[in-house]
């Protein structure tokens, strides 16, 4: 069997999305015009879809575009071809995490993975652990800003000290084990 092309692989990752396939894109640019973080992306969403359809895998995977998607779904609700564009960005994120390919220096992949690991351990999210996933990669100014804010929140009693846990954690972990291989995480 012939190896699927990159655009076919991306299409396969979208099996659960409700929208139309990417090849119905008319390149109108409504997505790019609606995107709140487009000015920080190296390719606009419209162009990224064009690159996927042209099977330009390296160009797509090495772009920061899909990791700059904030999940606001503005593109998805406006697309005249009914393509679920935000979901396409999710698919590319999953592909990027599975294949360990993404632009260097991005925090998004580590953050997502750390987040999920925290949930595996406790069932609940815990901000201080999340912070470690990104603060190590940021500069001194960001450290100082975050520390000042954390102090403010702590003084107002808004930061947790102990990580919260769900009660039926053993059941929870077995449940996760039924859907994905846990590796060293159990």
């Amino acid at each position: 069997m012939a190896k699927p092309s990159f655009s076919q692989e991306v299409a396969n990752l979208l099996y659960a999305a409700k929208g139309n396939p990417l090849n119905t894109c008319i390149q109108c640019g409504t997505c790019s015009g609606s995107c709140p973080s487009v000015e920080f992306m190296d390719h606009t969403p419209r162009r990224l879809i064009g690159l996927v359809l042209a099977d330009m895998k390296d160009e797509v995977m090495n772009s920061n575009t899909y990791w700059y998607c904030a999940s606001c779904f503005q593109c998805t609700v406006r697309c005249p071809s009914d393509i679920d564009i935000a979901e396409t960005m999710y698919a590319l994120k999953r592909y990027s995490i599975w294949k360990h390919i993404h632009q260097e220096g991005l925090v998004g992949p580590t953050f997502s993975e750390t987040f999920v690991k925290v949930i595996f351990r406790s069932g609940r999210s815990f901000e201080p652990v999340m912070a470690t996933s990104y603060l190590f990669s940021s500069g001194l100014k960001e450290w100082i800003q975050e520390a000042a804010m954390a102090t403010g929140l702590m003084l107002k009693g808004r930061l947790p000290v102990l990580p919260p846990r769900i009660k039926r954690l053993d059941n929870f972990k077995r449940m996760i084990g039924k859907v994905i291989p846990l590796g060293g995480e159990s």
Partner: protein, 289 residues
């Protein structure tokens, strides 16, 4: 007395405790009983779906199955918890094969998803289940003259659920008017706060927060009302950083809509978590005459 299963979500335990407090207190006043899910887990925010779809559905389905056990519709005050729970519910209802697969996993916690309940955001409960008339009837301290920017954010409205108007909603402003406040024009009310980009792509998020603060300020808002903990945290806690980056001097209180409703209901500050904000919202109390 209408009952709902209540899924507060991780943020409401601590960083957005005031949202939890004001939710519990204001719903009591309008005859809504919230029964907290006894062992809810994190909805995954935006992270689960980045890593694995099946895992994301399973974790959200666990909460849904607990609500089903109580035979109650699920209400979430956080936009991300709402969106993830809502769309997981919808996906599993539509795809029996997916539901069957996930039910195998749920067995490990003696739970079962059957698709028997609905998922609502807290704002929708106030607007539809309670209604503006009932809200008005409970107002003892109308917030006259309080200029409020009603901020919808993203995941309450989007993705689209049916054929509803996702471009020109008016219900949040309607609720603010029902408590006597004056909703100001706020063109960016549906534009993203940056969400978790604050962590992964700080520069982009700060720019998005700056746009929102400027838009609210330009329209003379004295306060921004939110219906999501992430929106609240981004818009409030990062104001000093926006000011530093953009040479601005914003100092706009950002509160949960339930806190404003609570003020109008005459509830004491402490009961609705006023006083825990970094940008003091206590001046707002003067409007609750």
């Amino acid at each position: 007395m209408k009952q709902f299963a209540y899924f507060p979500g991780c943020s409401l335990e601590k960083i957005a405790l005031s949202y939890n407090q004001s939710t519990v207190e204001t719903t009591k006043v309008v005859g809504i009983e919230l029964k907290e899910l006894e062992d809810w887990n994190c909805c995954g925010a935006t992270a689960y779906f980045h890593v694995d779809e099946l895992l994301a559905y399973t974790l959200c389905a666990r909460n849904l199955a607990m609500a089903e056990k109580e035979n109650l519709d699920l209400v979430a005050p956080c936009s991300a918890c709402f969106k993830n729970s809502y769309f997981t519910n919808q996906a599993l209802k539509k795809d029996p094969d997916l539901a069957e697969h996930i039910n195998v996993a749920l067995q490990e916690d003696d739970l079962h998803f059957s698709g028997s309940i609905e998922v609502k955001h807290l704002l929708e409960v106030f607007v539809k289940d309670v209604g503006f008339e009932e809200v008005k009837a409970q107002v003892t301290h109308p917030l006259e003259g309080l200029r409020v920017a009603a901020y919808y954010g993203c995941q309450i409205m989007r993705p689209r659920k049916d054929h509803e108007d996702v471009e020109q909603p008016v219900f949040f402003e309607g609720l603010m008017a029902a408590i006597g406040a004056e909703p100001v024009p706020f063109p960016l009310r549906l534009t993203c706060c940056g969400g978790s980009l604050l962590i992964s792509s700080r520069e982009a998020a700060l720019s998005m927060i700056h746009n929102l603060l400027k838009n609210a300020d330009d329209n003379g808002a004295a306060v921004i009302a939110t219906a999501c903990p992430l929106c609240q945290i981004n818009l409030e806690c990062y104001q000093p950083q926006v000011n530093q980056e953009y040479g601005t001097n914003y100092h706009i209180p950002v509160v949960y809509f339930t806190q404003l409703v609570g003020l109008a209901f005459g509830l004491p500050d402490k009961a609705i978590g006023l006083g825990s904000e970094l940008i003091s919202a206590t001046p707002l109390a003067q409007y609750a005459a």
